[in-house]
């Protein structure tokens, strides 16, 4: 090889290495990553003890990676490369038709307690343990109790990718049969959502794993039917649909690194009486159902009920309404405003570090007239909360 080429090779290498190194040194540290929705690591404190255990090295590694120059841009570049290689997905997120993102891989919980990361298989024994937990809770309750296990985008938007739907169907069948055998009032929504999705309705977000406000409305209708309250269902046109964001990028977008897909639109459905409700989260009063300050951030879904909290309550002053206790994950957050039109609500976060699995005792404590589970199928495959219900 010629001397000139050698010089160019060495020069480019040196510039590349030192360029990023200097960039890291000179650019100020970032505090929060909007894209990843988490705090970035800042310079760790040095102690001799941390150094000797290797902990300090780990923290420096994390710090270096978190504050690396052009981090978001590089993550996007990796996503594009994966798509260019024909994989049709990145980091376990499928790129479906029309920019639909479907999270496919997650950390599967095996029934012996071990975890298999990045898998789309599931352990039928884990599912069965969850089903049995629900059946146990059902047997311990004497009030109307309904169970809504929300579908993953993979289950609902199946038509948008070539990912085989058979796995979803097998999982749904196992859940359906198990709950039927236990005589549980199961609100099955996946076939309905799948149909609506195929009909072109915007029921699940494209870049986020949640259902849209429209999807939440359909879920509300199903829950009302499950309690035999179908006559009280508020019709769709009773609401004023207000678009509050047209640039919503959700969780699947963050994980998938496919920066080229277009954002979602987010709506609030207003009835006009929203001000008459008192909403508290972990004992602190909220401004209402909607914490609109989140609309200015990336984490827009936290607009609904202020994001993640352990206990959220909704009441309407001066009225004696039945109390509905919801054992839930985040899918209940945009569903709750609909149900609040009929019930006083207590929402207990099943995914919380605190234990809200003692359904019968908690229903007694909150003087529940109705009880509901709103929990994602994905969480059923990756966590053991349902298995602990009683």
């Amino acid at each position: 090889m010629g001397r000139k080429t050698q010089i160019v090779t060495v020069a480019l290498f040196v510039i590349f290495l030192f360029g990023f190194a200097l960039g890291f040194l000179l650019l100020p540290d970032q505090g929060f990553s909007q894209q990843e929705n988490r705090s970035l690591r800042t310079l760790p404190k040095f102690t001799w003890e941390k150094l000797s255990t290797g902990r300090y090295a780990e923290e420096i590694n994390d710090y270096f990676a978190d504050q690396f120059p052009l981090r978001d841009w590089l993550v996007g570049m990796k996503g594009c490369t994966e798509i260019a290689l024909g994989k049709g997905e990145n980091n376990g997120v499928i790129l479906g038709e029309d920019g639909q993102l479907l999270t496919r891989l997650y950390d599967m919980l095996v029934s012996d307690g071990s975890v298999r990361s990045e898998s789309d298989a599931y352990d039928p024994a884990t599912v069965d343990a969850g089903v049995q937990g629900i059946v146990r809770a059902d047997a311990a309750l004497e009030i109307p109790f309904a169970v809504l296990l929300t579908g993953r985008t993979l289950d609902v938007a199946a038509a948008s990718s070539r990912y085989p739907v058979a796995e979803s169907d097998a999982l749904l069948a196992q859940v359906r049969e198990g709950l039927a055998a236990g005589d549980v009032n199961y609100v099955e929504t996946v076939p309905m959502f799948r149909q609506k999705y195929e009909d072109g309705e915007y029921v699940y977000y494209k870049t986020d794993h949640h259902w849209t406000t429209l999807g939440a409305y359909y879920a509300y209708v199903e829950v009302m039917w499950a309690y035999g309250m179908e006559e009280q269902i508020l019709p769709m046109d009773a609401f004023e649909r207000q678009t509050v964001a047209t640039d919503f990028y959700g969780t699947a977008w963050s994980a998938g690194g496919m920066k080229f897909v277009s954002p979602d639109t987010m709506e609030l459905w207003l009835l006009g009486n929203e001000d008459s409700f008192t909403v508290t989260a972990d004992g602190v009063a909220l401004e209402g159902f909607y914490s609109t300050s989140y609309l200015a951030t990336k984490d827009k879904f936290s607009t609904f009920l202020d994001g993640t909290h352990d206990v959220v309550t909704v009441e309407r002053a001066g009225e004696d309404r039945p109390t509905l206790v919801i054992f839930k994950d985040s899918f209940a957050n945009n569903l709750a405003p609909f149900l609040a039109q009929h019930f006083d609500l207590v929402l207990l976060n099943l995914s919380s570090r605190r234990d809200y699995t003692n359904v019968s005792a908690l229903c007694e404590e909150y003087e529940a007239d109705y009880a509901l589970i709103v929990y994602t199928l994905e969480n059923m495959l990756t966590a053991d909360r349902l298995a602990k219900l009683r």
Binding site: T5, V10, L17, L51, N61, F68, M77, K78, G257
Partner: protein, 469 residues
């Protein structure tokens, strides 16, 4: 520290290069010695002491060997053996104690305590073998006594090959330790080699690993024949790209500092027999065992049966060297049997067979060897083996297996082609035809670096598979 980390590439390496080329020549070994200790101690500082102890032992015994090897060979021999015993004792204790304790405790009258906090020091198998090569080379008179502690320490700790080889024999770098010239040609070819290795490891090896893990998990839940084959095939590709990529990076980094390390891989997957495969896979390890175990035992000079015995010793040790677990021993025995069979008659048969068949034969047994190698849990390994031949499966394939495979076909094809000499040959042919093609080299290096950086940032963490050994 590992090469495929941001902190290595963008903090450690530029800084080390800078200091190395700024200091006057006499101090360059010292720079390498200190920076290498830092490299090693970054994750596990405590084990620096162990390594320094190993180095000091071999260095000190070296003086005894050097003094007596002419005048009193017996004393020199005793010093050599003492040095080897001390170093092997470290290896034996830190790598094998728990394994030995667990297995001996199976005997009814014996209970040895298991020490769960005993962690394997990274690279101990590699650097112990390097240290031993110095002791034996010195005893045999193949090299001079190294009086300079810094130079000897540099030989052992040299960060490019410290944690995963190639295992450099002392006599191969003896000269380079005293006097070496870093040239522009070396540095630039070292950079090329490093970029190739980094791309092999990150862009191919890690991808193959994730696909292997995927199929393995899937197989635990719903085993299929195709899925089982893909599990081991992706593992076979993963290990080649991971390990040979690492060796490429080591050789490349060595050149950046003026060292010439021996080659470690030579397209092993194009072999036409297992004998040939072992001349192409992890060459520095096979060379070490041949040089320091097989030939001293008599090699093939004392008849067929003694040769088979010697092979058996070498392969039991090779297997055990790879890890403190029975599957590695089994893996060694497996290759031992294949090699003896080939020496006895198979090679003669194979020579008459069509080329294609010889490739299929070799790759079949290589793939099976990686099945043994990859499953530490014998039951899971057996289940996968059975599934490969249609036993205990839910079908030949499944919709999910097909889905995953379809998305990975382009990458799989690239990985298979990349394991042959063809890409290199085509590139050389093209650059002979059009002179401009070679100007692509720096551009390709830059592209590889950029893509690897993107993948590293995305994953933030990607440990090497081969450093556990």
């Amino acid at each position: 520290m590992v090469f495929s980390s941001l902190i290595f590439l963008f903090a450690y390496l530029p800084l080390t290069l800078l200091i190395y080329y700024l200091v006057p020549r006499p101090f360059r070994n010292l720079v390498l010695f200190i920076t290498s200790l830092f490299f090693y101690g970054w994750g596990e500082p405590v084990y620096i002491l162990l390594m320094v102890l190993s180095i000091t032992t071999a260095y000190a015994f070296g003086f005894l060997i050097g003094r007596y090897r002419e005048s009193a060979p017996r004393k020199a021999r005793a010093a050599m053996i003492a040095s080897l015993i001390v170093n092997l004792a470290f290896l034996l204790f830190f790598k094998y104690y728990n394994f030995i304790a667990q297995n001996l405790s199976l005997l009814p009258f014996l209970t040895l305590p298991v020490l769960p906090e005993l962690k394997l020091p990274i690279g101990i198998s590699f650097y112990t073998f390097q240290i031993m090569s110095y002791t034996m080379d010195l005893y045999r008179g193949d090299c001079r006594l190294q009086k300079n502690y810094i130079s000897f320490g540099t030989y052992v700790t040299l960060f490019p090959q410290l944690i995963a080889g190639p295992i450099v024999r002392y006599r191969d770098v003896d000269e380079q330790l005293q006097a070496r010239r870093e040239t522009l040609a070396d540095v630039s070819s070292g950079i090329e080699r490093f970029c190739v290795g980094l791309a092999k490891k990150i862009l191919v090896g890690d991808m193959m690993a994730s696909c292997h893990r995927y199929f393995q998990t899937l197989g635990e839940q719903s085993p299929t024949t195709l899925g089982a084959w893909l599990t081991v095939i992706f593992y076979t590709l993963h290990l080649y790209y991971d390990f040979s990529g690492y060796s490429d990076m080591a050789i490349g980094l060595g050149r950046m500092f003026g060292f010439q390390f021996p080659e470690n891989f030579n397209y092993p997957y194009i072999s036409k027999s297992i004998t040939e495969y072992w001349r192409r896979w992890h060459i520095s390890l096979s060379t070490w065992f041949r040089e320091y175990v097989y030939i001293p035992l008599g090699g093939n000079r004392h008849g067929k049966w003694k040769q088979y015995r010697n092979l058996a010793v070498v392969w039991l040790l090779t297997g055990f060297w790879h890890g403190a677990n029975w599957n590695f021993v089994l893996w060694g025995v497996y290759f031992c049997i294949l090699l003896i069979l080939e020496k006895a008659f198979l090679l003669r048969w194979l020579e008459k067979a069509p080329r294609f068949l010889r490739h299929v034969y070799t790759m079949f047994f290589v793939v099976i060897s990686f099945l043994i190698f990859s499953f530490v849990d014998a039951d899971a390994g057996w289940q996968c083996f059975a599934a490969m031949f249609g036993f205990g499966t839910v079908g030949i394939t499944s919709a999910v297996v097909n889905y995953q495979l379809l998305g990975w076909i382009p990458m799989l094809a690239l990985a298979c082609i990349g394991a042959t000499p063809w890409p290199k040959r085509v590139f050389l042919a093209l650059s002979e035809r059009w002179r401009g093609v070679r100007y692509l080299v720096p551009a390709l290096c830059l592209l590889a670096l950029l893509l690897c950086t993107a993948y590293m940032v995305d994953s933030t963490f990607s440990p090497f598979a081969y450093t556990q050994f």
